[in-house]
């Protein structure tokens, strides 16, 4: 077998997606506003038609942030008949919020995540945990999605998507399978190091050598990640209702363990939790333009 015959599997690569609201067939004449969330790892674009969720997309952020914003928006528009010229107001957010070339305003991801999560989960939501690609945020908000406190950590990969990608590559397990595999165990093992991904990776390697199954190592790793982010939440204060946004919200192994540690059930949704930031940005965009129109009258 030569190197050219070996298929290189990217275990860290999660699936990109787009979605269009099946209940909206024609948005001509509607007020079209948008939000783009350029993160360090993923980019989402959300389109609202008269304030209602119309379409969205989620892609991997490339090496060029402005191009990622354009690509995400074009893919969200796919099948809608819309073009960038149809956007009446766009808000950019996220790590690369100043790099959205067609944005009218940039708003911090903290504010956008709170507003977007409020749109997804409703006015009872008070605590949001956003687990992104390279950072982790604990946010408190009020009944209209306005931030009342926040705490963020982007110093360390522990508790972030990057940490999960490291373990996916180490164990040759697809990142989207980690959650369910972590429950294929007889007994919950103790966690690996929760303070550092490098330490956790070393421990995971040693556990594999000691005969642990992949499933057991994944359970230990998900447990460690849950402990790490639970500490952040407790430090910022926990208040129900509680929800998780960001890519790791799709990892049931981490989500259920966070719930067990905190003794709180996270709200659930059919929507893609990863769009919360872009949805919040689009909602703010909609408010900006409609308020402007009201003042003009």
């Amino acid at each position: 077998m030569t190197m050219s015959n070996v298929e290189k599997v990217e275990y860290w690569r999660w699936g990109e997606s787009n979605w269009k609201n099946p209940n909206i067939s024609d948005c001509s004449g509607s007020l079209i506003t948008a939000g783009v969330d350029i993160g360090s790892t993923s980019t989402q674009a959300v389109i609202l038609a008269d304030g209602e969720l119309y379409a969205y997309s989620s892609i991997r952020t490339g090496s060029n942030s402005p191009n990622s914003a354009i690509d995400a928006m074009k893919w969200a528009m796919d099948g809608t008949g819309l073009s960038l010229e149809d956007l009446r107001y766009t808000v950019g957010t996220g790590y690369g919020r100043v790099n959205v070339p067609f944005a009218d305003k940039s708003v911090t991801e903290i504010s956008c995540h709170a507003r977007g999560a409020n749109m997804i989960y409703g006015p009872s939501l008070r605590t949001i945990l956003d687990m992104g690609g390279q950072d982790c945020k604990a946010i408190h908000c009020n009944e209209v999605g306005r931030v009342t406190s926040f705490m963020m950590n982007d110093k360390c990969a522990a508790g972030t998507g990057r940490g999960m990608e490291v373990i996916a590559n180490l164990l040759s397990v697809h990142v989207e399978d980690i959650g369910k595999m972590s429950f294929m165990i007889d007994e919950e093992p103790p966690p690996v190091s929760s303070v550092c991904v490098i330490f956790a990776k070393t421990e995971a390697t040693n556990l594999m050598r000691a005969g642990w199954s992949k499933e057991k190592v994944l359970a230990a790793y998900c447990h460690a990640m849950a402990l790490r982010v639970a500490r952040l939440l407790e430090r910022n204060g926990m208040e129900e209702d509680f929800a998780i946004t960001g890519g790791i919200a799709k990892n049931i192994g981490v989500v259920r363990r966070i719930e067990r540690i905190l003794g709180v059930r996270a709200l659930e949704t059919e929507m893609d939790q990863q769009i919360a930031g872009a949805l919040g940005a689009a909602t703010i965009a909609n408010e900006k333009i409609t308020n402007w129109w009201r003042r003009k009258k």
């Binding site: 931030v147 406190s149 926040f150 982007d154 110093k155 360390c156 550092c196 500490r231 430090r235």
Partner: protein, 94 residues
């Protein structure tokens, strides 16, 4: 809003909490000059209110930057930035 700026890593958790709701009533902006390392700055937040923040490049270095004001012996009850804020809106968590 309580804004917590800082980080957590393997050595611990290091955050400065700022109650930014009081910044709009503040005239002195004492925090800006109180810090010898100039970690604070005033910015317009998402709602166009002028508030104090920790400069982005300093957030992940607070442990070392603030060490000069935190001697092991005779640490003051209030750090210079905590004392400078007339609303007592700045709190170090370590």
């Amino acid at each position: 809003m309580i804004a917590n700026y800082g980080f957590e890593d393997g050595s611990g958790s290091y955050y400065i909490a700022i109650d930014t709701d009081n910044c709009t009533d503040c005239k002195e902006r004492g925090c800006l000059e109180s810090c010898q390392n100039k970690v604070f700055e005033m910015v317009l937040n998402d709602w166009d209110d002028e508030v104090a923040i920790i400069k982005e490049d300093y957030c992940n270095q607070l442990k070392s930057i603030c060490a000069g004001c935190k001697p092991l012996i005779d640490r003051p009850e209030l750090l210079p930035c905590e004392k400078a804020c007339s609303f007592r809106s700045i709190v170090h968590t370590w």
